[in-house]
């Protein structure tokens, strides 16, 4: 009788403990609407601005172009995608028109390329160049897009036509970007460095060239020089998201995770940079990793909800390096590789195929590496490993 009672007490206490342990597990975070209790509660940080700054898109092509260009510059500075939508809206009626002035067509191409509508962008650029064969901006854009797509012959031809139209730095840089991807990175880097040192440059120009130089040294496998160039680029253009991402990747590859966290501390609002910070935090087992991983997951979910596929490269990397879901990463990486062919696009296919033990599915990417002569050391190493895994 006594034993039964003791047993019952123990049972009841266990049940209680069970209950309280339930309590400590977090409730699912849902977007519950609520009414703030104080008028002073700050709900959101918004850009400071002058009253009356908002207006309708202009019908004057010069004004429209100028405003759209300004929004695009803001986007390039802080990677806020709302600015892309703004730029497009500022072009208003000119967005659909085939008769739009050439500078607007070129701008439209840039916006489309940023949204990964590469074919539409090339269509715009072809039309613009048919009307104005010596439009340097259009040449440069078409060379850049062709490079991203891995169409190096077209890119080379455009760089050749561009050289006499622009300063030496852009001419050399245009060609160097292609040389860096096709087996000539070291010599291209030397040429670009020499051109850069020849005369003083504006900070934006300097930043662009130094960032490109950093990438070339990376392709050539010279990490110390790459780091030096990327850091120099950040002195010219301190918050440039693209350069920050490239430097973060270099540090991640070198296992210098703590430096990644401090480099990106002020830049976590940019998805691509938050992604890299999270990878470092995961490796360092930092407390904020969980929250960041959840936040990234939410942002990708929101993007899927709106039916957008622009950031498949980042999503693939998120699945691979943050969530550790190699299978899902491989699907995303392959879909992305069908559109883009930069070293990271290739690398993600290779890594995901390797980790998910499906080396065959990287065949097309491996063929692309062989045909293009892409010499990124990481890509080379992965191709090697995949070849071994396939046997």
């Amino acid at each position: 009788m006594r034993a039964r009672r003791v047993l019952a007490v123990v049972g009841a206490l266990t049940a209680l403990l069970g209950l309280t342990s339930l309590v400590t597990s977090p409730r699912p975070a849902r977007a519950q609407p609520f009414v703030p209790s104080s008028d002073l509660q700050v709900l959101e940080h918004v850009p400071k601005r002058l009253p009356g700054a908002q207006r309708e898109p202009s019908r004057d092509p010069l004004v429209a172009e100028q405003r759209a260009r300004y929004a695009l510059e803001l986007y390039q500075r802080n990677a806020d995608p709302r600015q892309l939508g703004r730029a497009e809206a500022e072009l208003g009626a000119f967005w659909e028109s085939s008769q739009a002035p050439v500078p607007i067509v070129v701008l439209r191409a840039r916006l489309r390329a940023t949204n990964h509508e590469f074919e539409a962008a090339l269509g715009d650029l072809n039309a613009a160049l048919a009307r104005e064969p010596d439009d340097a901006q259009a040449r440069f854009e078409r060379a850049t897009i062709s490079t991203v797509l891995g169409r190096y012959d077209q890119a080379r031809a455009d760089c050749g036509r561009l050289a006499p139209l622009v300063s030496d730095l852009f001419g050399v840089g245009c060609r160097a970007a292609i040389r860096g991807l096709t087996g000539d990175a070291r010599a291209a880097a030397a040429d670009l460095a020499e051109t850069l040192g020849r005369s003083p440059r504006r900070p934006a120009e300097r930043g662009w060239a130094e960032s490109l130089l950093g990438e070339l040294w990376l392709r050539a496998g010279d990490t110390p020089r790459a780091e030096q160039s990327l850091k120099a680029a950040l002195r010219s253009t301190p918050d440039d998201p693209y350069t920050l991402a490239t430097l973060a990747d270099l540090l991640l590859d070198a296992g210098r995770d703590a430096e990644v966290v401090s480099l990106l501390r002020r830049h976590e609002s940019v998805d691509a940079l938050l992604l890299r910070a999270s990878i470092a935090e995961k490796r360092l087992a930092l407390g904020k990793f969980q929250a960041h991983a959840v936040e990234l997951g939410e942002r990708f979910d929101a993007e899927r909800l709106r039916g957008s596929e622009v950031h498949r490269r980042e999503q693939a990397r998120f699945e691979l390096s943050v969530r550790g879901n190699a299978q899902r990463a491989l699907e995303l990486a392959l879909a992305n590789f069908a559109v883009q062919r930069e070293p990271w696009d290739v690398r993600l296919v290779l890594e995901a195929a390797l980790q998910s033990r499906q080396p065959r599915r990287a065949d097309r990417a491996c063929r692309f590496v062989a045909e293009s002569g892409l010499e990124d050391p990481w890509v080379r190493r992965l191709v090697q490993k995949l070849a071994e895994a396939a046997h």
Binding site: L22, E44, R82, G85, R86, S269, R299
Partner: protein
Amino acid sequence: MRWWLALALSLVCARAWAHKPSDSYLALGRGEATLAGRWDIALRDLDDVLGVDQNADGELTWGELRRAAPRIESYARESLRASSDHGLCRLSFGSMAVTKHSDGGYASLPVRFDCGVPVRRVRLRYELLFSRDAQHRGVVQLEDEGAPPIVFTKSRREVELDLTTKPRSSLLEPLALGVDHIWHGYDHLLFLLALLLPSVLRREGGRWLPTADFRASLGDVVRLVTAFTLAHSLTLGLAASGWLALSPRLVESAIALSVVLAALNNLFPLVERERWLAAFGLGLLHGFGFAATLLDAGTAGSSFGRTLLGFNLGVELGQLAIVLLLLPAMFGLRRSPRYPRFVLGLGSAVVLLVSSIWLVERAFDVRVIS
């Protein structure tokens, strides 16, 4: 409390300026002649179009948003239209709240289209922000969860909704929600526990003694549970139909406080005979909490009476299950000399501890938006 506030502040700073393309979220339920639900619009977008941040200090406050409510409503009215073969459906707004999505704060507008007479089809036209942000999208989620959302874009501004294919509103779904809320809404669970623990005892001369028989205990439990049920059904009905509204933070804090009080009363008995009265009073509070869950589930468009009935039945069933589980065990243990100290005392102490933490958390609002 200082470090807590500091943490909240750093969260605000870290999350500010999160970058995501502009989207608004429309959660809609289909009725016979109505479309109703919630429309979440990003505060950054509203500020951009309407200049909500009046003092232009870069910080958008609830006061500024509240004062802009009429302008926000008229902008929203221009941007969303529903029409049937009988003409435009009348649009009305509930009182604005705020919510949060992955990239920051949103205004959350309860919306309701009334087409007058039952209709088969409604055309929904969406014009928000496109002239300002060509990449903006309107994401519409209808009540049937799992179905892919309808997405409005600059080049797709109109869709036709079929009001006859809507999933039939069943009693079962809200019922399950109610049961689930009792079993996973731990504050209600703990409150019940604190109420029930002393039911197998009686107080005499400042000491706890076991009740004479099962009938006495059962009678006490029935009184308590009935009082609690009546009270929360009353406020649940009133709040869910929009007759009464309280700040959720206030309600949540008060519910935590009610659990604290119930546990304290077990440890230092103050209310003895009229515990059912206390259960009734605190039950009024819990009803508001239930209503928040029900409204959050986005059932506003479907047949409201059935949803309310189903949800309330679910809550009662969940509650009954707990009583049936606990009462026999407690009754069997009541004569043990350890019951007052270990089961009642320790149990109430644990409840007190947990609910005090909730109270502090909720009262000082650690879940900071933005």
